[in-house]
C-alpha cells in the first residue's frame, strides 16, 4: 500500500457522471467513502464494490476501484463468492433497505452469520426510490405511499435488530448529514475483521424527503439521539447532561454522571439489542454509533484455511492418483 499513500479522494472518483437526484443523501455518502479510502491509503486495485439493485446500488460505477453491479438483493451472495475466491480483496457491499431487507433478506442474514470479512453499507431511506416511491420493509406502519394509499400495514424491520438477530459481529448506524460521524463509523467498520454492517440513514429528497428530521434535524438531534461510543459513557442532551443506564431488562434515562459505559463487545448481544429497540420508544433517544463489535471466525478465511489444512494433511491433490483410485481392474 505504501506506493498508494499519496492518493487523494479524487483518485477514488471514476470518470462516470454521478446520476443521483440533486440533493440526494447518496452524494454525501459517496464523498465520505472516497475520502475515507484516501485517508486510509487504500489500494484501488485491491478494492471491490459490490451492489444489488436500487438507487444506492449505482455506487460502484462512481468509485475508481473494481466494481460489480449485480442483481436485486443478491449482492451478499456475489460478495461471498468474490471474498472466498480471493480473501485479499477489500470488499464493500452497497445496498438499500429494499435490496437488503426485502428481496435480499435471506442473503443479508446469511452473509452476516457467516461473518464474511467485508463492509456492508445499507442506505436506509425507508422508501423504494428507483421504482418511484413505494413503501419499503423499513417504512413505518401507516406510511402512505402509492402502494399503501391507506397506510402501510406491514410492521417494519429494525435493521440493527435484524443484524444482531443474524448473529452479526459488527452493527453500527450513522447519518448522511454528518460527514464526521460517517468517517468515524466507516473507519471502525473497515477495521473490523468480519461482516461490518453499517446502516446509514439517508435522505430521499424526492420520495421521502426529510423523513428523519423529527429525530436528527440539527435543532432536535442532541435530545433525540445518542451516539454509542465504545468505552465511553452513554451521554446525550443539548448540554450533554443526560445519560442512559441499563436497569434490569430496560434502558432508562438518567443523569450524565449515572450513565453506564457502553460496551459493544459483551458476550451476549442482548445489550446491543436493547439499544436497537429504543428506536420505538418516544421517551428514549435513537442510538447512532456502534451497537456491536465482537470477534469471530471469518468465513472467507476459514474456507481457505480448510484447503491449506487438507493440502498439509493429505498432500496436494494429484489428478491421476484420484482418477486411478478405488477398485480398478485391467483388461488386456
Amino acid at each position: 500500500m505504501s506506493n498508494q499513500a499519496t492518493l487523494t479522494k479524487k483518485d477514488f472518483q471514476s470518470d462516470q457522471e454521478v446520476r443521483w437526484c440533486p440533493g440526494c443523501g447518496d452524494y454525501v455518502i459517496l464523498s465520505a467513502i472516497q475520502k475515507h479510502m484516501a485517508e486510509v491509503g487504500a489500494d484501488p486495485s485491491k478494492v471491490v464494490f459490490v451492489s444489488g439493485i436500487g438507487c444506492s446500488s449505482r455506487f460502484p460505477y462512481y468509485m475508481n476501484t473494481y466494481g460489480f453491479h449485480t442483481i436485486h438483493g443478491r449482492a451478499p451472495a456475489f460478495a461471498t463468492g468474490i471474498k472466498a475466491a480471493n480473501p485479499e480483496l477489500d470488499v464493500w457491499l452497497v445496498t438499500g433497505d429494499g435490496d437488503a431487507m426485502s428481496i435480499g433478506g435471506n442473503h443479508f442474514i446469511h452473509a452476516l452469520r457467516r461473518n464474511l470479512n467485508m463492509n456492508v453499507l445499507m442506505f436506509n431511506n425507508q422508501i423504494y426510490g428507483l421504482t418511484k416511491g413505494q413503501y419499503s420493509p423499513t417504512s413505518p406502519e401507516g406510511k402512505k405511499t402509492k402502494t399503501s394509499p391507506m397506510g402501510a400495514i406491514d410492521r417494519p424491520f429494525n435493521p440493527i435488530s435484524l443484524a444482531l438477530g443474524a448473529n452479526g459481529t459488527f452493527a453500527a448506524r450513522t447519518l448522511d448529514t454528518d460527514s464526521k460521524h460517517m468517517a468515524k463509523v466507516f473507519s471502525a467498520a473497515h477495521n473490523h475483521q468480519g461482516a461490518a454492517f453499517v446502516e446509514i440513514l439517508q435522505n430521499c429528497v424526492i420520495f421521502n424527503k426529510d423523513f428523519y428530521n423529527d429525530t436528527v434535524a440539527k435543532d432536535v438531534r442532541a435530545e433525540k439521539t445518542i451516539d454509542l461510543i465504545p468505552g465511553e459513557k452513554m451521554i446525550f442532551g443539548t448540554e450533554s447532561e443526560k445519560g442512559l443506564r441499563v436497569n434490569g431488562w430496560d434502558v432508562e434515562v438518567c443523569s450524565a454522571e449515572e450513565a453506564d459505559v457502553w460496551d459493544p463487545g459483551t458476550d451476549s448481544s442482548a445489550p446491543a439489542f436493547l439499544m436497537s429497540q429504543m428506536d420505538d420508544d418516544p421517551n428514549l433517544p435513537m442510538p447512532l454509533g456502534i451497537f456491536r463489535q465482537v470477534e469471530a471466525t471469518c468465513y472467507d478465511k476459514a474456507v481457505n484455511q480448510q484447503i491449506d489444512e487438507a493440502v498439509a494433511n493429505e498432500g496436494p491433490g494429484d489428478l491421476k492418483e484420484l482418477i486411478w483410485s478405488g477398485n480398478c481392474w485391467e483388461i488386456d
Binding site: 466494481g67 442483481i71 461471498t80 463468492g81 472466498a84 491433490g317 482418477i323 477398485n327
Partner: protein
C-alpha cells in the same frame, strides 16, 4: 450356452452371455448398496455392465408399501452392452410390494428369488394385496426360489451380540451372498468394502461379513437352485485400466480436471438438491485439489457466489437440478451480460415443479436453451453416459473460459446414479486451455472482442485495470449505455459469440451409413439404448443410422448436411419433444419425428426398435 462342471460342486455351471438382475426391496432394505456391490464385483470379474438405480424420493417411505420400493437393476455381460437391459432375467424381491411392483417387467420364465419371511398377512396388507402372490398364481410362468431370508439371517447370526433388529438389517448381505453364489462371483470385494465401511463398528463388519458368507454357503447347502451360472469376462472392451464410475462422480472429476486445464481454481457454489447433491459432496471432499465448495443458503445464492468467484478470477461452478436452475435464471442472465465464465451443472429430474425428484427425464432442454429473460444465449452440452460426463464437463469448462460465457451442462438421474466401466483416460492427452488474464491497460477495453468474439478477463487485484461491470447494458468500455444502436450491437455480439462456439466442435459423427431411410438423433442418457436399438434394427435389415448430440446449443454447423442424407429423423426424448421443437424451428425443411416418453423411466430398447419398425413399414 455351454455347460461345464465346476470342480468341487455337484451342480452344473452354465455359461451365460448376459444377465439382467433387479434387486428390489423396501427403501430401508439396502437395495442400492446391494446393487452397487454386485456391480463392483461384476466389474472386477471383468464383465461389461450398465446399471439403473430406481428409488423413491422419500428416505423411508412407510415400510412395506408400494411407494417405498427401491430397486437397482444391472446388466452384466461377456459382450459389449449399452443398457441396463429392458427386462430382468432375475428379480430379487425382499417383500410383497417389491414383488408386485416389479413383476410385470420380468422376462417370461424369469427367476424370482423371494424373501418369504416378509409375506405375512400384515406385509400383504401394507402392499395392498388381498391375496398372497406366492399362492394365488401370480408367479405362474416364473421360476420361483422361496427363501425365508428373515429367519435365515437370524440363524446365521445366532452367536452375534447384535439386537434382533440390527441382525435383520444384515439381510441384504445375506441376499447378496446368495446371488454371488448363483453367479459364481467372489466375495472378497464386498468383504473388504464392509471392513472399510464399518471400520469403527467391528461388530457390524463381523455380522455383515457373516451374513454374506452365510448367503453364499446357502446356495450349496440348501440346494435351492438347480444350477449355478457364470458370465465370463468380456473381451468387447478396449484394453486398459478400468474402474466403475457414476455420472456425478465423473462430473466432479471433470470440474477438477477442467479447472486444472484452464489453470484456475474451481469454486463451487451449491445448494443440496436431488439428484445433484452428490456433486457437492464429491467436490467438498477434494479440498486438497484447491477446490472451494460453498453450501449456500439457497439456489440463487449458490449461482451468485459462483459468479462472484468468476468475477474474482476463479472458475465459478454451480450444481443443481431443474427447479434450482429455474431459480438461478436471473443470475445466469447477469453472467451472460457481464460475460463471465460459469459452469451450471443441471442434473435433470422429472418435472414440472417438484415433479419426481428421483426419476429420470430430459425436460430441462428448453429451459436450458431459452429459459431466461431477454435475449440471453448460452451454450448447452449434454452428457450421454457416466463416463462421458467427465469429458463433457471438461469441454464445458473450455467453452466457458474461451468464450467468457456461462455454459449449461445437462445430465440426468440415469447418468448421475448409474454406473459403468470407465476406461481411465490418459491425462497427458487432455488438451490444456490456459486462461490468460489481461494485465496491460494499454488499449484495453472491458468488452473489446477477440476473433472468437470473447472479451478480456481482468482479475480484480491487478493494478491499473479497475473496471465496473453489471447487468445494465454497457458499451465496449463497460460503461452504462442506453444508446439504441449500442444495445442492438451488443445483443448481436453476444448472440454471435455463442454461435461461434459451434466452430470449435469436431465433425458430427454418424454411426452407420451417412445415407439411409432413417436417422435416429438422440441426446443425453438415451445413447446406450438408441445404440442397441439401431444395432438391432440394422441387423433386421433396416437402413437406420444414428447421431448423438453432445452440443445441444448452438447446434453443430454440419447437422443440416447430415440430415440431408436421410428421409426422416427420429428424435426420441424423455420429454414431450423439446429437441424436436428446436430442430424444427432451426431446420424446418427436414422431416423430424418426435418420440416422447415421460414415465420417469428410461426408454426400453424394444420401444425404440418397434418405433423404427413402425416408421419404416409405413
Amino acid at each position: 450356452m455351454t455347460t461345464i462342471q465346476q470342480p468341487g460342486s455337484e451342480l452344473p455351471l452354465q455359461q451365460l452371455e448376459s444377465v439382467v438382475i433387479r434387486f428390489a426391496g423396501d427403501s430401508g432394505d439396502g437395495m442400492q448398496i446391494t446393487g452397487s456391490q454386485f456391480t463392483m464385483t461384476s466389474a472386477l470379474v471383468g464383465n461389461d455392465l450398465a446399471t439403473l438405480p430406481d428409488f423413491p424420493a422419500e428416505i423411508r417411505a412407510p415400510v412395506g408399501t408400494r411407494p417405498g420400493v427401491s430397486g437397482f437393476q444391472l446388466q452384466f455381460s461377456a459382450n459389449d452392452i449399452h443398457t441396463p437391459g429392458d427386462a430382468p432375467d432375475v428379480l430379487v424381491a425382499m417383500n410383497p410390494a417389491a414383488l408386485v411392483v416389479n413383476l410385470s417387467t420380468l422376462k417370461p420364465g424369469g427367476l424370482v428369488v423371494v424373501n418369504t419371511g416378509s409375506f405375512k398377512a400384515t406385509d400383504l396388507r401394507k402392499a395392498r394385496l388381498e391375496t398372497n402372490p406366492l399362492e394365488d398364481g401370480s408367479l405362474d410362468g416364473f421360476r420361483v426360489i422361496p427363501v425365508d431370508i428373515n429367519q435365515r439371517i437370524l440363524d446365521a447370526l445366532a452367536d452375534s451380540e447384535l439386537s434382533k433388529k440390527d441382525k435383520a438389517r444384515c439381510k441384504n448381505f445375506y441376499t447378496l451372498g446368495l446371488m454371488y453364489w448363483v453367479y459364481s462371483r467372489p466375495l472378497e470385494t464386498t468383504m473388504e468394502w464392509l471392513a472399510v465401511k464399518f471400520a469403527k463398528k467391528p461388530d457390524l463388519v463381523d455380522a455383515n461379513q457373516k451374513a454374506l458368507q452365510a448367503g453364499y454357503n446357502a446356495g450349496d447347502i440348501h440346494e435351492l437352485f438347480q444350477g449355478r451360472y457364470e458370465v465370463p469376462k468380456t473381451d468387447a472392451l478396449p484394453a486398459g485400466t478400468y474402474r466403475n464410475i457414476n455420472g456425478n462422480q465423473a462430473v466432479a472429476l471433470g470440474v477438477v480436471a477442467g479447472a486444472q486445464l484452464a489453470g484456475l481454481r474451481p469454486v463451487l457454489g451449491s445448494y443440496p438438491i436431488t439428484p445433484a447433491s452428490t456433486i457437492l459432496e464429491e467436490l467438498a471432499a477434494l479440498k486438497r485439489f484447491g477446490v472451494i465448495t460453498m453450501q449456500l443458503e439457497d439456489e440463487i445464492a449458490a449461482v451468485c457466489a459462483a459468479i462472484g468467484a468468476s468475477f474474482a478470477g476463479c472458475l465459478g461452478v454451480t450444481s443443481t437440478s431443474g427447479p434450482g436452475m429455474a431459480l438461478k435464471g436471473e443470475a445466469m442472465g447477469l453472467a451472460v451480460s457481464a460475460e463471465l465464465p460459469l459452469l451450471i451443472l443441471d442434473i435433470q429430474r422429472a418435472g414440472p415443479s417438484t415433479g419426481m425428484p428421483t426419476k429420470v427425464e430430459q425436460s430441462d432442454l428448453l429451459q436450458a436453451v431459452f429459459g431466461r429473460n431477454g435475449d440471453t444465449p448460452m451454450p448447452v452440452l449434454a452428457a450421454s453416459s457416466p463416463a462421458d460426463a467427465l469429458e463433457v464437463t471438461i469441454d464445458a469448462c473450455r467453452i466457458a473460459v474461451e468464450f467468457m460465457t456461462p455454459v449449461i451442462f445437462l445430465s440426468d438421474n440415469f447418468i448421475a446414479n448409474g454406473s459403468e466401466p470407465w476406461l481411465l483416460p490418459d491425462l497427458d492427452t487432455l488438451k490444456e486451455f490456459p486462461v490468460e488474464f489481461a494485465t496491460n491497460p494499454e488499449g484495453h477495453q472491458t468488452y473489446k472482442r477477440d476473433g472468437k468474439g470473447s472479451r478480456p478477463w481482468v482479475k480484480p487485484g491487478t493494478p491499473n485495470m479497475a473496471f465496473r461491470i453489471g447487468g445494465l447494458e454497457k458499451d465496449t468500455d463497460g460503461n452504462i449505455s442506453y444508446d439504441p444502436d449500442n444495445h442492438q450491437s451488443m445483443t448481436d455480439q453476444r448472440h454471435q459469440k455463442v454461435q461461434n462456439v459451434a466452430n470449435t466442435y469436431p465433425p458430427t459423427e454418424v454411426v452407420g451409413e451417412t445415407k439411409g431411410d432413417l436417422l435416429v438423433l438422440g441426446w443425453g442418457s438415451s445413447k446406450g439404448i438408441i445404440t442397441q436399438a439401431t444395432i438391432d434394427s440394422r441387423q433386421a435389415g433396416r437402413r437406420v443410422s444414428r447421431v448423438h448430440l453432445r452440443n445441444v446449443w448452438p447446434l453443430p454447423n454440419d447437422l443440416d448436411e447430415v440430415f440431408d442424407g436421410f428421409k426422416a429423423i427420429l428424435v426420441p426424448e424423455m420429454n414431450v419433444g423439446q429437441l424436436a421443437r428446436v430442430l424444427r424451428s432451426e431446420m424446418p425443411h427436414h422431416n423430424f419425428i418426435s418420440y416422447s416418453k415421460v414415465t420417469g423411466q428410461p426408454f426400453l430398447v424394444s420401444e425404440i426398435t418397434e418405433k423404427i419398425a413402425t416408421i419404416l413399414e409405413n
